[in-house]
């Protein structure tokens, strides 16, 4: 049996809130295999984003464990977690989170700096990824000169530039119009077709329908975990 790419074991996240304790995640155990395209859904406050942040090792669980590629993360220190995020996880955010006044090329190269890659190779790899996103002619543009869809493509290129095991996208189309959203989802789909494992958080059914598996969160628990039967495939 192959080791799941991401596995959570009795994952709990609690916050102290006004004298009581809020269970943002109340014991979630699930596994995501290589090559899956998972959509995590739920209302706001359902725990879907908290769950995403924990499998992305941005947040630490109150108890339980997150295993990435078979490795437990609960005992790791902040440096080890940083290395793990750098090498194995790619993030895409709703607000793109590109560095302002920094060219698309330099934005994409940032994770490679933290990976200790030399300048020439950084430039080359960033250029290649931007080219693959169809932005080969926008290398020297700063984010302010790019459209929302283009900015999100730069962000996806940045997430993929270290060749991570898994791509985590938190509401990646939340700041985009519907046509651009479709384009971005098409991009995710083709990335998945090419073998990338993708986990996507969304509250929109149409977006989630692009995925191959849907996990519903409510009150910090998984209430539904099903394959997407009527998968919405965008025609290229």
């Amino acid at each position: 049996m192959t080791v799941p790419l991401v596995e959570t074991v009795s994952l709990v996240k609690e916050y102290a809130s006004g004298g009581g304790t809020v269970h943002a995640i109340a014991g979630v155990s699930l596994a995501i295999a290589r090559g899956e395209f998972v959509a995590i859904m739920g209302a706001s406050g359902s725990g879907k984003s908290t769950f995403m942040n924990m499998i992305g090792c941005l947040d630490v669980p109150s108890s339980g464990d997150v295993r990435i590629d078979g490795t437990a993360t609960s005992a790791m220190d902040s440096d080890a977690l940083a290395e793990l995020r750098n090498g194995k996880i790619g993030f895409v955010f709703q607000q793109f989170n590109l560095l302002p006044r920094t060219t698309a090329l330099d934005n994409v190269a940032v994770p490679l700096i933290y990976a200790g890659v030399g300048r020439a190779e950084r430039q080359e790899r960033a250029r290649a990824k931007l080219g693959a996103m169809g932005l080969g002619d926008r290398l020297d543009h700063s984010p302010a000169k790019l459209s929302g869809g283009q900015q999100q493509r730069v962000a996806i290129a940045r997430a993929l530039v270290t060749e991570p095991l898994i791509l985590l996208a938190d509401e990646p189309t939340g700041a985009l119009d519907s046509q651009t959203s479709e384009d971005i989802m098409q991009l995710f789909q083709s990335l998945n077709d090419a073998g990338n494992t993708i986990v996507l958080v969304t509250h929109e059914r149409e977006v989630a329908d692009h995925a191959s598996r849907r996990i519903m969160f409510r009150d910090g628990k998984v209430i539904e975990d099903t394959p997407v039967t009527s998968r919405r495939l965008v025609k290229p």
Partner: protein, 416 residues
């Protein structure tokens, strides 16, 4: 290049790039913050320079006395009591004994001193008249620029001859060459036989405001505060060979005088003996303290500048919390974030330091031209100022940088 080194260099260059971008983006804020450090470094550099200038100036004053020498004089009345002063009258015989018996002595310059009024024609000059022997020229490096020095014959005959310092000549005669003229010193006529080569001034002390007469003539003609015996001296300069230990000569002179005056062990000596070396050391200490006090006061402004840096770095960290979160998500370690802000603070301070240094160099040049007082800013001071600025940056940027690096990635990312 080793890979580890290349990696570190690459990150350093990267951090520098981030720092410069951040500083450029908030240009006005950066300039104002830098100003605080500039003023601080300006003050500290000037304080160091003025302190060094004072040292140079005082050392110059000591050097103008002559080269290596010991100065011997009786303990003043108010310090040793009348009886000691009586017993401790320094005489010509003591001077001769010192010259004869102590090794390394090149010449002696026994002196009497009196404040006098010199009159010529309608003009007059108040100055110090020093009764000397020819040895004075040798010990103090005094040279007659025109005419001649006081001679052995002058001393033997108690001749009324006088050698004038440049300042006195200017007061009495202007540009006119006074050799052969008669001047009245405290109403006694003296013939001008020579003019001393100018030595300039140190710390406002004019080294050319004096007149030399034969010691024998001074004894006969001038009244002094203490009644003088026929052999008494007020002060004795002892010239000492280069390379001879001044401390050793001082001890030997002390022993000789104690023997001559039968001072018992444990009893205070009736004479004070000082060497140029001691003057140098004391001066170095005093000017060192002076300099330290100046620098300490100036450092307060640098401290204020540093606090300004800390303040602006805290603002910078707060403003860029989201960016910090993003960088952490992309794989930045705590040390990467910390170094990024440290480099930013250090660069800010070094730019401020460089500006302060340039201002200080300009101010020193103006000061030196106006005040005739050396204000040296050495290469060491300059490099030190820049490095010190960087240290100020690291020190005051340290806390904000560490604070930034301790942020939780997810909380930083969630910040709006």
């Amino acid at each position: 290049m080793k890979p580890a080194f290349r990696k570190a260099a690459s990150r350093a260059a990267f951090n520098l790039g981030i720092a410069l971008t951040a500083l450029r983006v908030n240009l006005m804020r950066s300039i104002l913050t830098t100003l605080g450090v500039s003023i601080g470094v300006f003050a500290v550099v000037l304080a160091v320079a003025v302190g060094s200038g004072a040292q140079v100036s005082v050392m110059g004053a000591i050097n103008s006395l002559g080269s290596n020498m010991a100065i011997v004089f009786p303990v003043p009345d108010d310090e040793g009591g009348g009886s000691v002063a009586e017993r401790g009258r320094l005489t010509m015989r003591d001077a001769v004994a010192i010259e004869r018996h102590i090794e390394g002595v090149t010449a002696i310059a026994p002196q009497l001193r009196a404040n006098v009024q010199i009159v010529s024609g309608g003009r007059n000059a108040a100055t110090e008249a020093i009764g000397v022997t020819p040895g004075y020229a040798q010990v103090t490096n005094a040279v007659a620029e025109t005419g001649r020095f006081i001679s052995e014959a002058d001393v033997r005959a108690a001749a009324r001859t006088i050698v004038l310092g440049r300042t006195v000549v200017t007061k009495l005669f202007g540009d006119y060459d006074p050799i052969g003229e008669t001047v009245r010193v405290n109403k006694v006529p003296f013939t001008v036989v020579g003019i001393l080569e100018a030595k300039g001034s140190n710390l406002g002390e004019d080294n050319d405001d004096l007149a030399l007469v034969p010691i024998s003539a001074a004894r006969q003609r001038f009244t002094t505060d203490l009644p003088l015996g026929p052999d008494d001296l007020r002060i004795l300069f002892v010239g000492i060979e280069d390379g001879v230990s001044l401390g050793k000569v001082k001890r030997e002179i002390s022993r000789l005088l104690r023997d001559r005056y039968r001072v018992r062990d444990g009893e205070g000596s009736p004479f004070i003996i000082r060497t140029t070396e001691e003057f140098m050391e004391e001066t170095a200490m005093v000017t060192g303290i002076f300099q330290a006090v100046l620098v300490a006061i100036a450092s307060i402004s640098l401290l204020v500048g540093g606090i300004g840096i800390m303040n602006i770095m805290l603002v910078s960290v707060t403003e860029r919390t989201r960016e910090i979160g993003l960088r952490m998500a992309l794989g930045a370690k705590r040390s990467d974030i910390r170094n990024q802000f440290l480099v930013e603070a250090a660069v800010l301070c070094m730019i401020g330091g460089a500006i302060g240094l340039l201002l200080a160099i300009a101010a020193a040049a103006v000061f030196q031209a106006q005040a005739d007082f050396p204000v040296p800013i050495g290469v060491g001071t300059a490099i030190g100022a820049i490095l010190f600025s960087a240290v100020v940056g690291l020190l005051f940027g340290g806390w904000p940088a560490i604070r930034a690096s301790r942020l939780s990635p997810i909380e930083a990312l969630r910040t709006e």
